[in-house]
């Protein structure tokens, strides 16, 4: 049901029945290693290109989620997923393997919540019984696509971010089997915001206004106070973006508790890992939510969270042509 200007409320409470999360070697050394279902110690995942490696990550995440959710592919109606690589081929190729009717999404790093919102909407209105949704990224494949060759010795400034290697896929169903499972309650779809920043090594700064806009809209549409949520988590704003968005929200009249305002990009890696400002990438918010955060919720640490995935909608071409970086953010609230 539409509430306010741009938000949905899911009265049927679509359930996130199971999740599958895979990651690479760098993530295995990070903070959240125990929340992964599959961890690779080889960045190539046994493939001969990084793009294929990313496909493997998605395939594995899909397999895991179907196993854990105890469901056959015939019973899954749709797969809604995306990534950052050329025309989202890794996801499409994984969908070819999965043989599930497929919506390919591109929302850059906001793909995870865009997918979860759409999946919840479908399930809520009986457009589907079981939907898989997810997002993925691969560090080396993304670097190659957007920046320099991985072996190139260019210096990254401290505002740069490290693209996470990993895929997170969730199974959204209409079954309420009484178990202690998280469910989605509402979603806010953001609009594209461009504050004219052009530095591709400062994504956090570019994406912060989009996050602030979506959070403000969400709270206004649902008439909530920030304290309604135990935790508000942004996707991959990292250090620079997180501080900026807190500042922006305060000017909007929303006082956040910094201890209850986290960022996936900052949670994923340890302090001593060379990630500059923090993690990023389409997979970043997917693996942190579907791995770590839902586990925390099942343990009862958090009851209500709002996840705001942010995406920078640039391409290597657009920034070389001197265009600024348009950004977007989508929010989904999850309760248990």
């Amino acid at each position: 049901m539409l509430v306010g200007k741009q938000s949905w409320i899911f009265q049927q409470h679509p359930v996130i029945a199971a999740t599958g999360v895979s990651g690479g070697p760098f993530e295995a050394n990070g903070h959240l290693a125990e929340d992964f279902d599959i961890l690779h110690d080889d960045l190539w995942m046994g493939q001969d290109s990084y793009e294929k490696a990313q496909r493997v990550l998605i395939e594995e995440a899909i397999q895991t989620v179907m196993q854990k959710g105890n469901i056959q592919k015939e019973d899954v109606q749709f797969l809604i997923a995306g990534d950052l690589i050329n025309q989202i081929t890794p996801t499409s190729f994984a969908a070819r393997t999965a043989q599930i009717p497929y919506f390919g999404l591109f929302g850059a790093c906001s793909t995870s919540m865009e997918g979860l919102a759409l999946a919840s909407f479908m399930v809520n209105y009986k457009g589907a019984k079981n939907v898989l949704t997810g997002a993925s990224s691969h560090n080396a494949a993304t670097e190659k696509q957007f920046r320099y060759p991985t072996e190139y010795g260019g210096q990254k400034p401290p505002t740069a971010q490290w693209t996470a290697t990993g895929a997170g896929v969730a199974l959204v169903t209409d079954k309420k089997n009484g178990e202690n499972l998280p469910y989605t309650t509402s979603a806010t779809i953001g609009k594209v915001i461009d504050m004219g920043l052009t530095d591709p090594f400062n994504m956090g700064g570019a994406m912060a206004p989009a996050a602030a806009d979506t959070i403000t809209a969400h709270l206004k549409d649902l008439q909530l106070e920030p304290s309604h949520y135990d935790l508000i988590v942004t996707g991959d704003l990292a250090r620079v973006g997180r501080e900026t968005v807190l500042d922006l929200l305060e000017t909007n009249g929303l006082k956040m508790d910094p201890n209850r305002f986290l960022d996936c990009g900052l949670m994923l890696y340890k302090e001593d890992q060379p990630v500059q400002a923090g993690g990023s990438g389409a997979g970043c918010s997917a693996i942190v939510l579907y791995g770590h955060l839902l586990n925390q919720m099942k343990k009862g640490i958090y009851k209500r969270i709002l996840l705001v995935a942010t995406g920078a909608l640039l391409s290597p071409l657009s920034f070389q042509q001197g265009e600024s970086i348009p950004c977007i953010a989508h929010a989904v609230s999850i309760e248990i």
Partner: protein
């Protein structure tokens, strides 16, 4: 010879500091910075200033990418001395061929031998 090492270190280091300032203060990408330095090298040689620096600092002046512009001009001028204006075109790679051909050959060998580590 020992002072040569010292001055190579100092001059080479200073040229790199110029590059770093172009990165950090002027916020240029590595591609822009290196292209700019090569052009500066070419102009310095045109003014006759680079050769004394090479005499003075040895590898401190020949190893930084500036010297690429310098040797391009050098080759062109040498050839122009003998063959006139056509020499400007034909002599360009006379001196720099080593760097470019080494980069091509070793680049290809590298692609044969290695995979990106990530």
């Amino acid at each position: 010879m020992l002072p040569m090492f010292f001055w190579a270190f100092v001059v080479g280091g200073l040229i790199c500091v110029v590059g770093q300032l172009l990165f950090d203060v002027a916020k240029l990408t590595p591609g822009h910075t290196l292209s700019l330095l090569v052009v500066i090298g070419a102009i310095l040689d045109g003014l006759g200033l680079y050769e004394p620096l090479v005499d003075f600092a040895g590898a401190g002046a020949t190893v930084p990418i500036l010297s690429f512009g310098n040797s391009l001009v050098h080759g062109a001028l040498q050839e122009a001395e003998q063959h006139g204006l056509v020499g400007v075109l034909t002599g360009m790679f006379e001196v720099t061929s080593a760097g470019i051909s080494a980069a091509i050959v070793f680049g290809f060998l590298g692609a044969l031998m290695f995979k990106p580590k990530g």
